[in-house]
Amino acid sequence: MDLVKLYVRSPPAVIGLLLLILVLAMAASADFFYPRDPLALAGRPLIWPFSNPRFLLGTDNSGRDIAAQIFHGARISLLIGGVATVISVMIGITIGALAGYYGSWVDTALMRVTEAFQTLPNFLLLLVLVAVFGSTITTVTVAIGIVSWPASARLTRAEFLSLRNREFVQAGRTLGLKDMRLIFGEILPNALPPVIVYASVVMAIAILLESALAFLKLSDPNVASWGNLIGAGRDVLRVQWYVSAIPGIAILVTVLAVSLVGQGLNDALNPRLKSR
């Protein structure tokens, strides 16, 4: 309860939460407001926003309803962002935990791999993965998860390094607990909070990565993704710039919401840092 009280004291955090609820509501109500396939032809192409009550946000260059694509796109963005974040954080936690707990050569080897992932530009690796495994929604999501884990691995490792010799761990060891039990049952719960907060950053980056990939026409073309719509609007940018502008605002709002909520959680969990 204290956490909630601390959280709502910060206006940006509340704004972020409201925006996030808005995006979630859009995702949830997509089928209710726009039950038809958002990628199906709906009317005349390139109707300007607010000029036809049937298409509130207008239509794109092939006559698909932009508002429907925005609502359904919220689902895709949150789905890809959420699942990729879970994958990325899981990989990061496992590698960071093993490296931090065992130390010595395990640590050296795992950190080498982490370094390799950090040296290789992540978007380039994403391009390679998509080139190799194709661009369905599943492969894109997994690929985004694979390129964005190193930071959470480093964070988890740092936590483990400071926790692994604490009394409660030594007590567990004396009781004869197995390594896996100690790592995942005892140390991990204590190491988790900063990693969870960092997950909001991962999610923001994952959403941005997917939209960039879709903009380059390398993501799944068969789903209503905001990035796809921006890419389509690029062909008519000269006059009908709204086709690209509207989905961009949707991405901006979503990433902003996720970042603000993450920041708010961080401040609420570390009240001493709040004044900064």
């Binding site: 390799a116 950090q118 380039l124 939209s211 390398l218």
Partner: protein
């Protein structure tokens, strides 16, 4: 000298990382559907199985994966990146042609982001929780959350189509051939929007880090001492705080060199700049795997080079690093 040897040791430590990356990506690309010969045959408009076999033999593609990997690494040692079947040139040549635009774009964006991130971070920290701070932090958040390519497109709409101040894309004006200073100005004009597009996102990050690290340093004892000596606030900030607060910023440059290179893929596509990032995109589309692997190698080298410079800078800012251990 000590600084150099320290940074040199860090450089040597990155060689295994580089080899790890190359092996990893090489093996990954073996899983790709179709090889260079398939791409070439498609370009030639098809051919019979014997030609394909001869070509595979010629390029050494009939060997086992491990033998191919060994060959590739051995060629790399002699700085031979192989041959691009799509461009009909050695990969090294193709990359060398594209490298200047990317390096120019990255240097410009990084300088822009660093300089303005620094200034805005200091201004925000000096007036913490007052209106300049709120304003700067809000703008920072906006730019952080904005997809870079979308900002690029909107900048084209406003500055190139509506106001017609700046060119919408390309590296230089190809209808007229300028030389000397006129050409430099022309290229600079073409790079304004790409630099802003790539730089603003990083500026947002830098200003946030700078603000935080300023606030931290401003509370330290030596700052209180400087103030109680009667030093005025500007000199306290410039002489004492800045140097210490810069350390996290410099670390960040090294950490983000890779991300920035990745970001240039998208920005170069938006502004059709003939750079490395766009080459990466094109080689994915055209399945030019040799070139793609070459780009991976060169960009990893670039990131390592940036980190080497960062190490030198860091030691210069903080003498304790070289005296300790």
């Amino acid at each position: 000298m000590r600084v150099l040897s320290l940074a040199g040791r860090r450089l040597a430590a990155s060689i295994p990382t580089l080899i790890l990356i190359l092996i990893g990506v090489f093996l990954l690309l073996q899983l790709a559907p179709g090889d260079t010969v398939d791409a070439m045959m498609a370009q030639m408009g098809g051919g019979d199985a014997t030609t394909a076999r001869q070509l595979r033999e010629f390029y050494g593609l009939d060997l086992s994966v491990w033998a191919q990997l060994g060959n590739y690494l051995w060629r790399l040692v002699r700085l031979d990146l192989g041959f691009s079947a799509i461009y009909g040139k050695p990969v090294a040549t193709v990359i060398a042609e594209r490298l200047p635009a990317t390096i120019l774009l990255m240097t410009a964006s990084l300088s822009f982001a660093f300089f303005f991130g620094l200034i805005l971070g200091v201004v925000a920290a000096r007036g913490v929780n007052k209106w300049p701070d709120t304003l700067i932090s809000t703008f920072g958040l906006m730019f952080y959350a904005m997809p870079t390519f979308w900002f690029g497109l909107m900048a084209i709409v406003v500055f190139s189509i509506y106001l017609q101040w700046l060119p919408a894309g390309g590296f230089e004006d190809i209808t007229v051939s300028y030389t000397g200073l006129r050409r430099t100005l022309d290229i600079a004009q073409h790079l304004v929007l790409p630099t802003l597009t790539l730089g603003l996102f990083y500026m947002a990050i830098y200003l946030r880090i700078m603000r935080g690290s300023m606030l931290e340093v401003l509370n330290l004892d030596f700052v209180r001492t400087a103030r109680s000596k009667g030093m005025d606030e500007t000199r306290v900030v410039v002489r004492h705080v800045l140097r210490n607060a810069l350390l996290p910023m410099v670390t960040l440059i090294g950490l983000q060199a890779g991300t920035m290179l990745g970001g240039s893929v998208v920005v170069e596509s938006v502004f059709s700049l003939p750079g490395l990032g766009r080459l990466a995109y094109e080689s994915v589309i055209q399945r030019d795997l040799n070139t793609l692997l070459g780009i991976v190698f060169v960009s990893a080298l670039l990131v390592i080079a940036v980190n080497f410079i960062v190490d030198l800078l860091y030691a210069r800012l903080d003498p304790r690093i070289t005296t300790g251990s």
